[in-house]
Symmetry: C2
Subunit: 493 residues, 2 copies
């Protein structure tokens, strides 16, 4: 067997084994009873540890070198590039650090579950210091192996190829015009009258509506499910994708739009290429590209007037008629801009501020410029500067609101705003190609959107590095001008 084929065999094996971790995690997040957590954590750590050790195997380095010299076609080269990347990342971080991190983040995350509702920042800090210490160590190891700065090395885990220098430019651009836009929109909306839908809406009726919308969006229920979880997510494998959402009886739109968001992630996974089963080339490109799919569904498509016109009768058929379901009113309700404390509840215009604030803090934290105890003051200051919101003393809905840092995930937050910028760029292309777009959307025909995303993104898997994928898809590298044009058109047009 050629070295390349042997590497593919190993990649498929790891893909198979990771399948079991994926569904163990999904079961945990959707149905596992409370006492099941300990045994589950041990079982998952056992296999994760084994996979990490195997990915570091010195024999792999020999195979990789040998495969480099073999005659491979372009797709095989791309696959080899991704296999090499996995080996390089695994090699950079010692087993002992992985194990310590698993333990420290499990402890910190479990504590956070209780400390957040109790507004207990000091209690959180006790576990969190160790998480930060280990994350810095991980970042240093990754930096040593890659030559990148520590935070850039962490960013690279989620958005390969993106550096903070580029983020500084992108976010600098946003900071230049977004606050002014938010103010202008708020002034304009202050005189608008908006009716809020009046609940309660039973979870059962909400679930039926969510399923109906997922079906219209082309989600294949033979190859996936809709379940319930505390924090909505999408996970699984191409032919078995689990979308989750949560239900608040007072507000069905929260659940519906979380479902639309996750359905975007899901269709990306269901639409990945089938030519290379279990190979990294067949996996999603990056987390920023992944978020661009969910946000293409939730924001670009989901908040279009034409989509709300499509949605309104479906909503009425599930909950009975209400004046608030009139499309014009519903759209106004859905696009209401109101700075507030919580990221996951933020509107399209305020969301980037939540991301930029976290980016600034987590970068400084990983680079050692600040310490964990400095976070609340920085948080309060930036929330005031960026959104005019006062979070002092409120850790619960301030710096304790997310689970990412407790889980040792530093460098992911920027992907949300990269995704929003990419999604606007995709829709600029889609609109150019399909001038009749909105009249088709009103009638529930999303083929122009789905067809473009499938062709340009889903079917490409990880064949191209992100910058090339973006250029091939849209004719240019990432360009925030489309995001700005989109927001101005939607909110001031």
């Amino acid at each position: 067997m050629s070295a390349y084929l042997e590497l593919c065999r190993q990649a498929k094996r790891h893909h198979n084994l990771r399948h079991l971790l994926t569904f163990a995690a999904i079961d945990r997040a959707t149905v596992m009873p409370p006492k099941g957590g300990e045994a589950r954590a041990e079982a998952m750590a056992e296999l994760e540890g084994m996979l990490h050790r195997e990915s570091r195997d010195p024999a792999m380095a020999d195979l990789l070198r040998a495969a480099e010299a073999e005659p491979l076609d372009a797709a095989e080269r791309a696959n080899l590039r991704e296999i090499q990347r996995g080996h390089r990342l695994a090699l950079a971080v010692p087993d002992s650090l992985v194990e310590s991190r698993v333990r420290a983040t499990a402890r910190c995350e479990a504590g956070w579950q209780l400390q957040r509702p109790a507004n207990d920042w000091q209690g959180f800090l006790e576990n969190f210091r160790e998480v930060v210490r280990l994350a810095r160590s991980e970042a240093r190891h990754l930096a040593d192996a890659s030559g990148l700065a520590p935070y850039d090395a962490m960013l690279d885990l989620y958005e390969p190829g993106v550096r903070s220098a580029e983020l500084d430019l992108l976010f600098g651009d946003l900071r230049g015009w977004l606050p002014g836009l938010v103010q202008k929109v708020r002034d304009r909306q202050s005189s608008e009258r908006v009716l809020a839908p009046a609940g309660p809406f039973t979870a059962e009726a909400q679930r039926a509506l969510n399923r109906a919308v997922m079906e219209r969006l082309g989600f294949d229920f033979e190859a996936g499910r809709l379940d319930t979880a505390v924090h909505p997510f999408c996970g699984g494998v191409q032919d078995d994708i689990r979308v989750t959402t949560r239900y608040r009886e007072a507000d069905f739109l929260h659940s519906l739009y979380a479902t639309i968001h996750e359905t975007g992630h899901a269709r990306y996974e269901q639409g990945l290429p089938r030519e290379w089963p279990g190979q990294p080339i067949a996996l999603p490109r990056s987390m920023g590209i992944h978020e661009s799919q969910s946000l293409a569904f939730e924001l670009q498509l989901g908040l279009r007037k034409s989509f709300v016109e499509f949605l309104a009768p479906l909503i009425a058929s599930h909950f009975g008629p209400q004046d608030a379901f009139e499309p014009e009113n519903l759209h106004r309700h859905l696009t209401r801009v109101a700075p507030d404390k919580i990221r996951v509840d933020a509107d399209e215009l305020c969301y980037p501020a939540h991301v930029m604030l976290r980016y600034t803090i987590e970068r400084a934290l990983i680079e050692g410029e600040i310490e964990p105890e400095d976070i609340p003051a920085l948080w309060d200051e930036q929330m005031r500067d960026l959104l005019g919101v006062d979070t002092r003393g409120d850790y619960r809905d301030g710096c304790l609101q997310d689970t990412h840092w407790a889980e040792g995930v530093f460098g992911y937050f920027p992907c949300y705003t990269l995704g929003a910028i990419y999604a606007a760029q995709w829709f600029a292309c889609i609109q150019r190609e399909a001038p009749e777009l909105d009249s088709r959307i009103v009638s529930g025909d999303f083929s122009a959107v789905v067809g473009w995303l499938d062709r340009a993104i889903w079917s490409q898997g990880s064949r191209w590095e992100t910058r090339e994928l973006v250029t091939r898809a849209s004719g240019e590298p990432i360009n925030p001008a489309h995001f700005r044009a989109h927001l101005e058109a939607r909110y001031l047009g």
Copy 2:
């Protein structure tokens, strides 16, 4: 590290990894969408294959020899015995055979899903021949390694220590008195008037009743769940046990008694010893002992008049009052004896006949005395002889009704009747210890039953071989006289 401790470390590792297989299988049986099957099968086969290869590792033989010579206490010796057994069984069967069997049984089982409803015995036979060929080969390998006869070697997988010679004696005993008893009971019941409960009973109300009964039976919902599956089962790990049942709107008792049965399995698992986490000594003793727990709950406890008296008001509170829910009538309905075609729907008196018939056939099949195409004629003949039921031409509810053989499981069926015999033996002890048993059961106090089972069986794990466990628990080896006395008291008393 001592050789023994190294073996324990490996056992714990396999326990952790098997956890992932267990929950992948539970997810598959409860919620997995149809297209997810292929990737799931590949993922599970990958890890199963790896565990099998590791269990055969020659280094293990050295460790086992070294551990034998180490100073171990009685519990450690028992644990070593179980580790040795696992190694011996794995060593006996070559990897290639395991792989072929996985593929052949997956194909046969998938075909069976369609062939059974179509009454297509010939179609089934095409896949089933290969399953039998591989099962015979497996039995031969196990026989060569153990010195047992081929079928005994298969039996030993599920009920270690039991041989067909012993089963012939036990079943011979049953054959001597059971048909006459069935006839006597049927004559007696023929003049009884029984009201059947009148449905429909919604699945939601049934689920609520099932959960209420599980709670009264002491099932810990913090450490488990009740879910829905096509074939009810119980699976998981000690702190996360999944009980499943199914719902027929016309008949809530089917679902309720399946739930009570599986709750017996579940409480065994939840009650296993905690001193040796992840070690084989802490696992259930055998499948016959396992079935003795489910049948202790379903038949011994569940069909007692006092239990039905306890149950009746609970049923009425979930479905509203009905004359049929009057305890005397309900008990008559539940203990109605009527020979019929389907094993899983059989009553307490007819069930052993279904098992004995399968035992006769599967033993002859594995020993090479008959061929797969001989099954229907033998089936029809024995159904007529043992139960007076005509199954000619009806493969669907005849020899195609079970999934065991399609899955390559030969040697399991006897465990159901061993379990029924053991369960009667346990209750003879419980009754001796607790003369007030029934008045306590009426009031929902099951502590005498649960306390005895916990002390005698659950907390013992696999510390003793089955014969010793049975003798320690009940003062004698397996004795069908208790089963006979129980049936005569219940049905003729």
